[in-house]
Structures are given as structure tokens and as C-alpha cells.
Symmetry: C2
Subunit: 213 residues, 2 copies
DNA sequence: TGTACATCAGTGAACGCGCGTTCACTGATGTAC
DNA sequence: TGTACATCAGTGAACGCGCGTTCACTGATGTAC
């Protein structure tokens, strides 16, 4: 009766894999974490997934297509990380903005290779509709957090967008400089002080007495 | 009389190159700009320098050694870019800090591939004494700019170092997000507004009424 | 329910490519006498 | 100043490697009748 293809959940045929596409994405994540983007190869992903090196061609046109899927997954998790911090935080608008920033940093620290792929590589196809959508969605979290602090939509107000950009650049810079392994930066701002620093700095960047209309 | 080896300046023998080491560094810069770090090869550099692909081995152990030299050159120019802006700016401490930040951005925009090499790659040997020294020197420009604003050395004062880190992360984030090609970020902060934004944001980050002793 | 068949998702051998590396060599340069 | 020689910095052919890609194939699955 089911015209829909059976889900084959839990099924493990030695031959037909079941869900090689998903397995390759998982494998790609490990490959990325182990070898970095520079050492990322389709053959390596196939090996990690336990299939022959020609098998991925049935699911991904080339390595960049797999990297696009990985970047899409990355942005999904990235947005989740920001929302998770926001959910645990006070509903007060500035606390929500700080929480988004801390979620940004949580993600970068937990998934450095994905983070570099998302923000430092040209290999994923950023024109891909799915990737573009989820990247925009992540950005919207910051914009709406600023909007709530300001009490209005920052779009169209260059000075308000400057605040969006400043908050974004600040956390992005902290993440990048730390991931780059800069000893000098880590001495200036060790991870233990991130929470305090982001709170204090965003407090100064987007002061409570900011214009609200 | 001169026991010192002749400089061979201006000399162009077809066989002995004269200064292949320097020529390879120049070629490497072009190779980097054209192909990115991912597409950087010793053979490509040799070709650009007009020598056989085996020639570089006499000057650089491997590709990473050449990349280390390129990163060292990059940091030298980077410090120059910051000092150049400072020289053109008012001597007022906050103006000097803003100028350092704008010089930081000048460099990133002018030499995106070098910038990524310096801050986003693990291929250069950052333990190399020369590279380490010049990288530290760049960092010191920011630290001393903050020191002048604060009226004292920020080292040992976690809150003052937080200001150093914040200023640094801010301009670094602006540079990285712009170089990453983020359309959303560029919409929020187009390059034409960098100068205004950095001035305004650093004004809030490091307020004039900051404690001075 | 059984059978025949189309389709799909793998396999594994083969290929060409560009890379780094090695090696014997050679021509230019510098030095000792 | 001239000559012999050591050293240095290149050349170009050769090699092995891992990569992506192609291809004929095969076994498992789903479907038509």
C-alpha cells in the first residue's frame, strides 16, 4: 500500500547503504575536523563512511557539493547554538543580544572546522538556495536581537545597522583570533573572560540609554 | 678588498638568478593572490619566478617555509599600514587608536590573501623566530595605542586588556566578515562607512572618560 | 503469491593529472696559489 | 695577472603518490503483471 519508499530505518545492508548521503555528511564532518578544509578529500570521506571511493558520486557532484551540505548543516547548528543561549537567558533585550553573541562563540569553539568552512572558505556554494537561506536566518537572529534592544527594526537606519555590524564583528573577531591560535589575543582575552567581556563590551556598544524610537 | 660577497644588484644572469629567494617571495605573493592558500604550490611559484620547479629547494625547505616567509613579509607590511595611518592622524590618543584600526583594515583590504595566511592558516610556522617577532610587534601597536588612551600600561590589568582585545576583535571581525564576502555583513556595514563606524564604535568601547590611573 | 524485469546504489580496476621530491648534471662564480 | 679548482645555484628527466573521474559490472530493491 505505501507508495512512499520505505524508510529503511535501522536497516544495514552491506550493499545498499541505507542513507549514504547522511553518512557522507557525518563522515565529512569528521574529515573536516581531522584534516581541515585544506586536507579535505572525497576519498577520505568515502573511507570514513566505509564505502568505495567512487560511491559518493551518486550523492554529491564533487567535493565542493559535499562542503556546501556541510556548511548548511553548520549554519543550522550555529543558529541553534545562539537560540539555545537565548532560551537559557533572561528575556531582557540586552541579555538576549549578549546571549546570541555567547552562542556564536559556543559554536565557534565547539566546531572550529565548520566555523572556518562557513566563514573562511570559498569552496561551499554560497549561492545555493538552502545554504543561503540558513545563513540569512542566522544573521536575522542578531538583527532581531538589536531590534528588540532598540525598540524598532534596524533595517534602513544606518546607525542602527552599525550596531548590528559592531556586535557581529566583535564576536566574530573574538572567535577568529582565538581559533587562529593567537597567543597574544588569548593572553589579552582568555576564554574564561569571554562571558564577562562580551557582556561588558556589548553594554558599551549598545548602551541602555540608546534612542528607543 | 671586499671579503663580503658582492651584492650583484641589478645583475641578471640567465643562469644564476641573482636573488631567487626574493624573487620567489614576490612570486609567492602573486601565487597566493591568484590561487589562494588552498591552491598555493611550489611549482606555481617557481614558474612565476621563471625558474625550473626544482630550483626553490635551494632556498626553501618546502612550501610551508615559503609561506612562513610570506607571512613574515605580511606582518611587516601590516605594521607599516597601521603606522602609516597613525602618522597621518592627529596625535590625540583616541585618534591614534582609531588610526591603528583603520590601518588594520587598509591592510586586510589591500592584501586579502596575505591577511588570510597570517590569521587563518596553520601552514606558516608561527614558532619561527622572525615571524613571531614581527607578529608580536604588530600586536604591540594596538597595546600601546590603548596604553596611551588609558594613560598607563594595560598589561596586568584584565579590564584594560579587555579593551585591547575588544578593539582588536572589532576590526578583525570587520575585516574577516568583509573578506568572507558576507553580503549580509556588507549590507550592514559597507566599506564607505568603515571610517565613521570604527571611530564611533571605538569611541564607545574606550570612552574618553575612562579611568586614567 | 510468484515471477520477470527495471532501476538504483554500490564495487573495484583503470586512467590522467599535478604535486613534491630526488638525482646526476652543468654552467657561473669566487678563491687559492 | 693567470690558472686550477671548489662551491654554488641552477636544469630537466624521472619517480611515486594521492587525487578526482570514468566505466563496465553486479547485487539488492521495488514494481508490473
Amino acid at each position: 500500500m505505501p507508495t512512499k519508499r520505505p524508510a529503511r530505518r535501522g536497516r544495514k545492508s552491506a550493499y545498499h547503504h541505507g542513507d549514504l548521503r547522511k553518512a557522507l555528511i557525518d563522515a565529512g564532518e569528521n574529515e573536516l575536523a581531522a584534516n581541515g578544509i585544506e586536507g579535505f578529500t572525497l576519498r577520505g570521506c568515502a573511507k570514513r563512511a566505509g564505502v568505495s571511493h567512487a560511491a559518493p558520486a551518486h550523492h554529491f557532484k564533487d567535493a565542493n557539493a559535499l562542503l556546501t551540505a556541510l556548511a548548511t548543516l553548520g549554519f543550522t547548528r550555529f543558529a541553534q547554538a545562539m537560540r539555545a543561549r537565548q532560551a537559557k537567558s533572561s528575556a531582557e533585550p540586552r541579555a538576549q543580544l549578549v546571549a546570541a553573541g555567547l552562542g556564536y562563540l559556543d559554536f565557534a569553539l565547539a566546531h572550529p572546522a565548520l566555523f572556518r568552512l562557513m566563514f573562511g572558505s570559498r569552496r561551499p556554494d554560497f549561492a545555493d538556495a538552502g545554504l543561503h537561506a540558513v545563513a540569512e536566518e542566522s544573521f536575522a537572529i542578531l538583527v532581531s536581537a538589536i531590534a528588540r534592544v532598540r525598540g524598532r527594526d534596524p533595517w534602513g537606519d544606518p546607525r542602527a545597522m552599525e550596531d548590528v555590524a559592531a556586535s557581529w564583528a566583535l564576536v566574530h573577531g573574538i572567535a577568529m583570533l582565538t581559533l587562529a591560535g593567537s597567543v597574544a589575543f588569548q593572553a589579552a582575552l582568555p576564554k574564561e573572560r569571554w562571558e564577562h567581556a562580551v557582556d561588558a563590551i556589548i553594554g558599551r556598544l549598545v548602551p541602555p540609554d540608546a534612542p528607543r524610537a
